[in-house]
Symmetry: C2
Subunit: 392 residues, 2 copies
């Protein structure tokens, strides 16, 4: 368990989840922290997202109040009031400005957050705050996740050191545009480094694009996706964008991989790499189209080296390339060269790789400099079981 | 079984399919017929598609040679030669110009069409030609389809009448941009009406957009999709575009609905209707996004009136609308009004409708004139079974 100086955590069961598991999490900075946020681009935004977007504009915040079990999305004015009253109660118990408490919710859509339960629990939640409870925080925000998602990284310079702690949740519905619905993606990053607000925001946007926005479980994006970063500055170690960016990428990449691995019911985590196109944007379009193709995802589930589906998916991405130059590798097996099968030996090797839990699929589509990567999962019976019965 | 004067049909097992079922189909016009074609927009095009696109340019054709069991896609020059030699052998047996025989193939990708088997079978195929064998033709082109797809319509005027006979196949992978892969969509339309070539082409493109390009099973598009229309003119009934268009729409709509119903392993055929947007293009984007959403499709499989998923999918379509004006109906049950749930009674009624095999889901998103429809299927265990094991 990681300690980040200047932050304390707490988690409790407020009775929002039907199963009685802990469902309400609070993280509090000892003093105003610099804050940055990236939110869902879905037009249909949950009340907590609207409120957090508004409150994050000041550039500082003291706390984040997150709950699982209820997304508080598509709930109109009552939903908005619930987000306000629950954060207000916690602010009251903490003795701080309600505007400095950011809400985040995940769970079923269309049900108003039972704010009274959080109001009732707010004293206990605040009393439970402790520097060593980030793991409980991580567990309280889970929904269909099979495991908590936590990553950390420590940077040192001139005798000072600062930690980045990233806590996330999300398993189903993971897809770009900062992120997923019901099994929404929530990510909270806490650091005791000192970071200028504009740099924190820019670095968070870049890291989100390179990680959370480059992975997919089922192509749907959420009403609730939220990525927040808090910098307390108490370490006295000042990080500029150039120092922060790689560290932020690293912790976000760990969370993104963990989310895709935990793709609802999935059995494989696959990195799709596309290269040889004129520019990165074209490569990204192809990588996304391949990564989200249902036929590709079911072939991966079936451990089938079905390169025809890979090439056909690339061909419908709206990007020009010469199929006769295409090469495809699954792990170290080059199964297609010059647009044609390389024969049964390579395919047999590819089939072995497809039986492993993690591998890469590379599509080389020409000699251009543009490349991109996308993380994806398979879609099989487990996914159907989770998603066909989520509400019932 | 429908007779279209001027056309004869034949079907045979040439040994392309491993299971010994009939796999090669021939339709021949007694004299040059006016022809129009619409083909896959996938960049990766099968050899028969490239050849048929080239040959259809003359505006007339005598025959179509179609096979199941092998898509002859991603097969390079050997695949192209196979398409040429198989159509050449049939042309030879018929004593006609090879350029007037159009090929179409469906089946596994990456395997060269075993043309020698069709060459060997060409005499028997030609000898079997008969005006009353369109049903055998329809059966020979099936792959994962559970049933043949045939629709017909007769138009009469001033004592003359003409028939439109549409024969199609396609179950999985059905999606726009004229069409699907491995379980490719093939559609052949035969009429004894007299139609000017430009009008036949325009009408075919419009009908394809309104039907085949507005339905989806899994969002993937094929390397082999082909829609061809042949007009023999022998009825002496001349049809202009205005007369032809609704009849062509009607037969294509019947085939499109049949294909979606036959979506690989699916249990529901759902018409998504979107209205109230500023224009038809916006409505189509939203309808397509909802129709292709995996979360929507798995909710339909699970008979779950999960309107949050419907609204969230609409919200990520890239189209501006006010979620607070949204209304959603499943069949006759209005489950959302002004962006909010209308309560448990409507939801209970919606759940009943979700247990039926065919229904509509309507999203009304404002007061604009733009509307669109999209046909979709559910994604459940049957789909996974068919697609995870297709090649093995």
């Amino acid at each position: 368990m990681v300690i980040v100086p200047g932050f304390r955590f707490s988690a409790i069961s407020a009775g929002i989840r039907k199963d009685g598991r802990i469902d309400t999490a609070l993280a509090v900075a000892d003093a105003n922290a610099t804050v940055a946020g990236v939110f869902t681009r879905n037009l249909v935004r949950a009340a907590p997202v609207t409120l957090a977007m508004d409150r994050v504009r000041s550039g500082t915040a003291r706390a984040v109040l997150a709950n699982s079990g209820c997304a508080n999305a598509c709930t109109g004015q009552p939903g908005f009031s619930a987000a306000e009253s629950s954060t207000g109660a916690v602010a009251g118990a903490l003795g701080i400005d309600p505007q400095s408490v950011l809400p985040a919710s995940t769970g079923v859509i269309g049900v108003v957050l039972p704010a009274a339960r959080i109001v009732d629990a707010s004293q206990a939640l605040v009393q439970g705050l402790s520097a060593d409870k980030s793991d409980e925080f991580a567990r309280a925000i889970l929904t269909t996740d099979r495991w908590p998602k936590v990553a950390s990284k420590t940077l040192s310079r001139a005798g000072k050191s600062a930690t980045l702690l990233a806590i996330g949740k999300g398993a189903g519905m993971i897809h770009p545009d900062v992120g997923p619905p019901h099994a929404t993606m929530l990510v909270f990053i806490f650091t005791d480094a000192e970071v200028e607000q504009g740099e924190l925001q820019a670095a968070l946007e870049q890291a989100s694009d390179d990680t959370f926005n480059s992975c997919t479980v089922d192509g749907d994006t959420s009403t609730n996706d939220t990525v927040l970063a808090f910098a307390s500055g108490v370490s006295g170690l000042k990080l500029d964008r150039a120092e922060l960016q790689p560290a932020l990428f690293e912790v976000c990449d760990v969370l993104a991989r963990s989310m895709v691995k935990d793709g609802e019911g999935s059995e494989h985590m696959v990195e799709i790499r596309v290269s040889g196109l004129p520019d990165a944007g074209s490569a990204r379009s192809v990588a996304r189209t391949v990564a989200t193709s249902l036929l590709v995802k079911t072939a991966i589930f079936g451990r089938d080296a079905n390169w025809g589906r890979l090439l056909a998916a690339a061909g419908r991405a709206g990007v020009a390339f010469d199929p006769n130059l295409a090469a495809i590798r699954i792990g170290d097996a080059e199964i297609v060269k010059h647009g044609l099968s390389t024969g049964p030996a390579a395919e047999a090797r590819a089939s072995e790789i497809l039986r492993t839990p993690e591998f890469t699929i590379e599509l080389s589509l020409g000699s251009g400099p543009g490349s991109a990567r996308y993380l994806t999962s398979d879609i099989g019976h487990g996914y159907i079981d989770v998603n066909a019965s989520y509400r019932s």
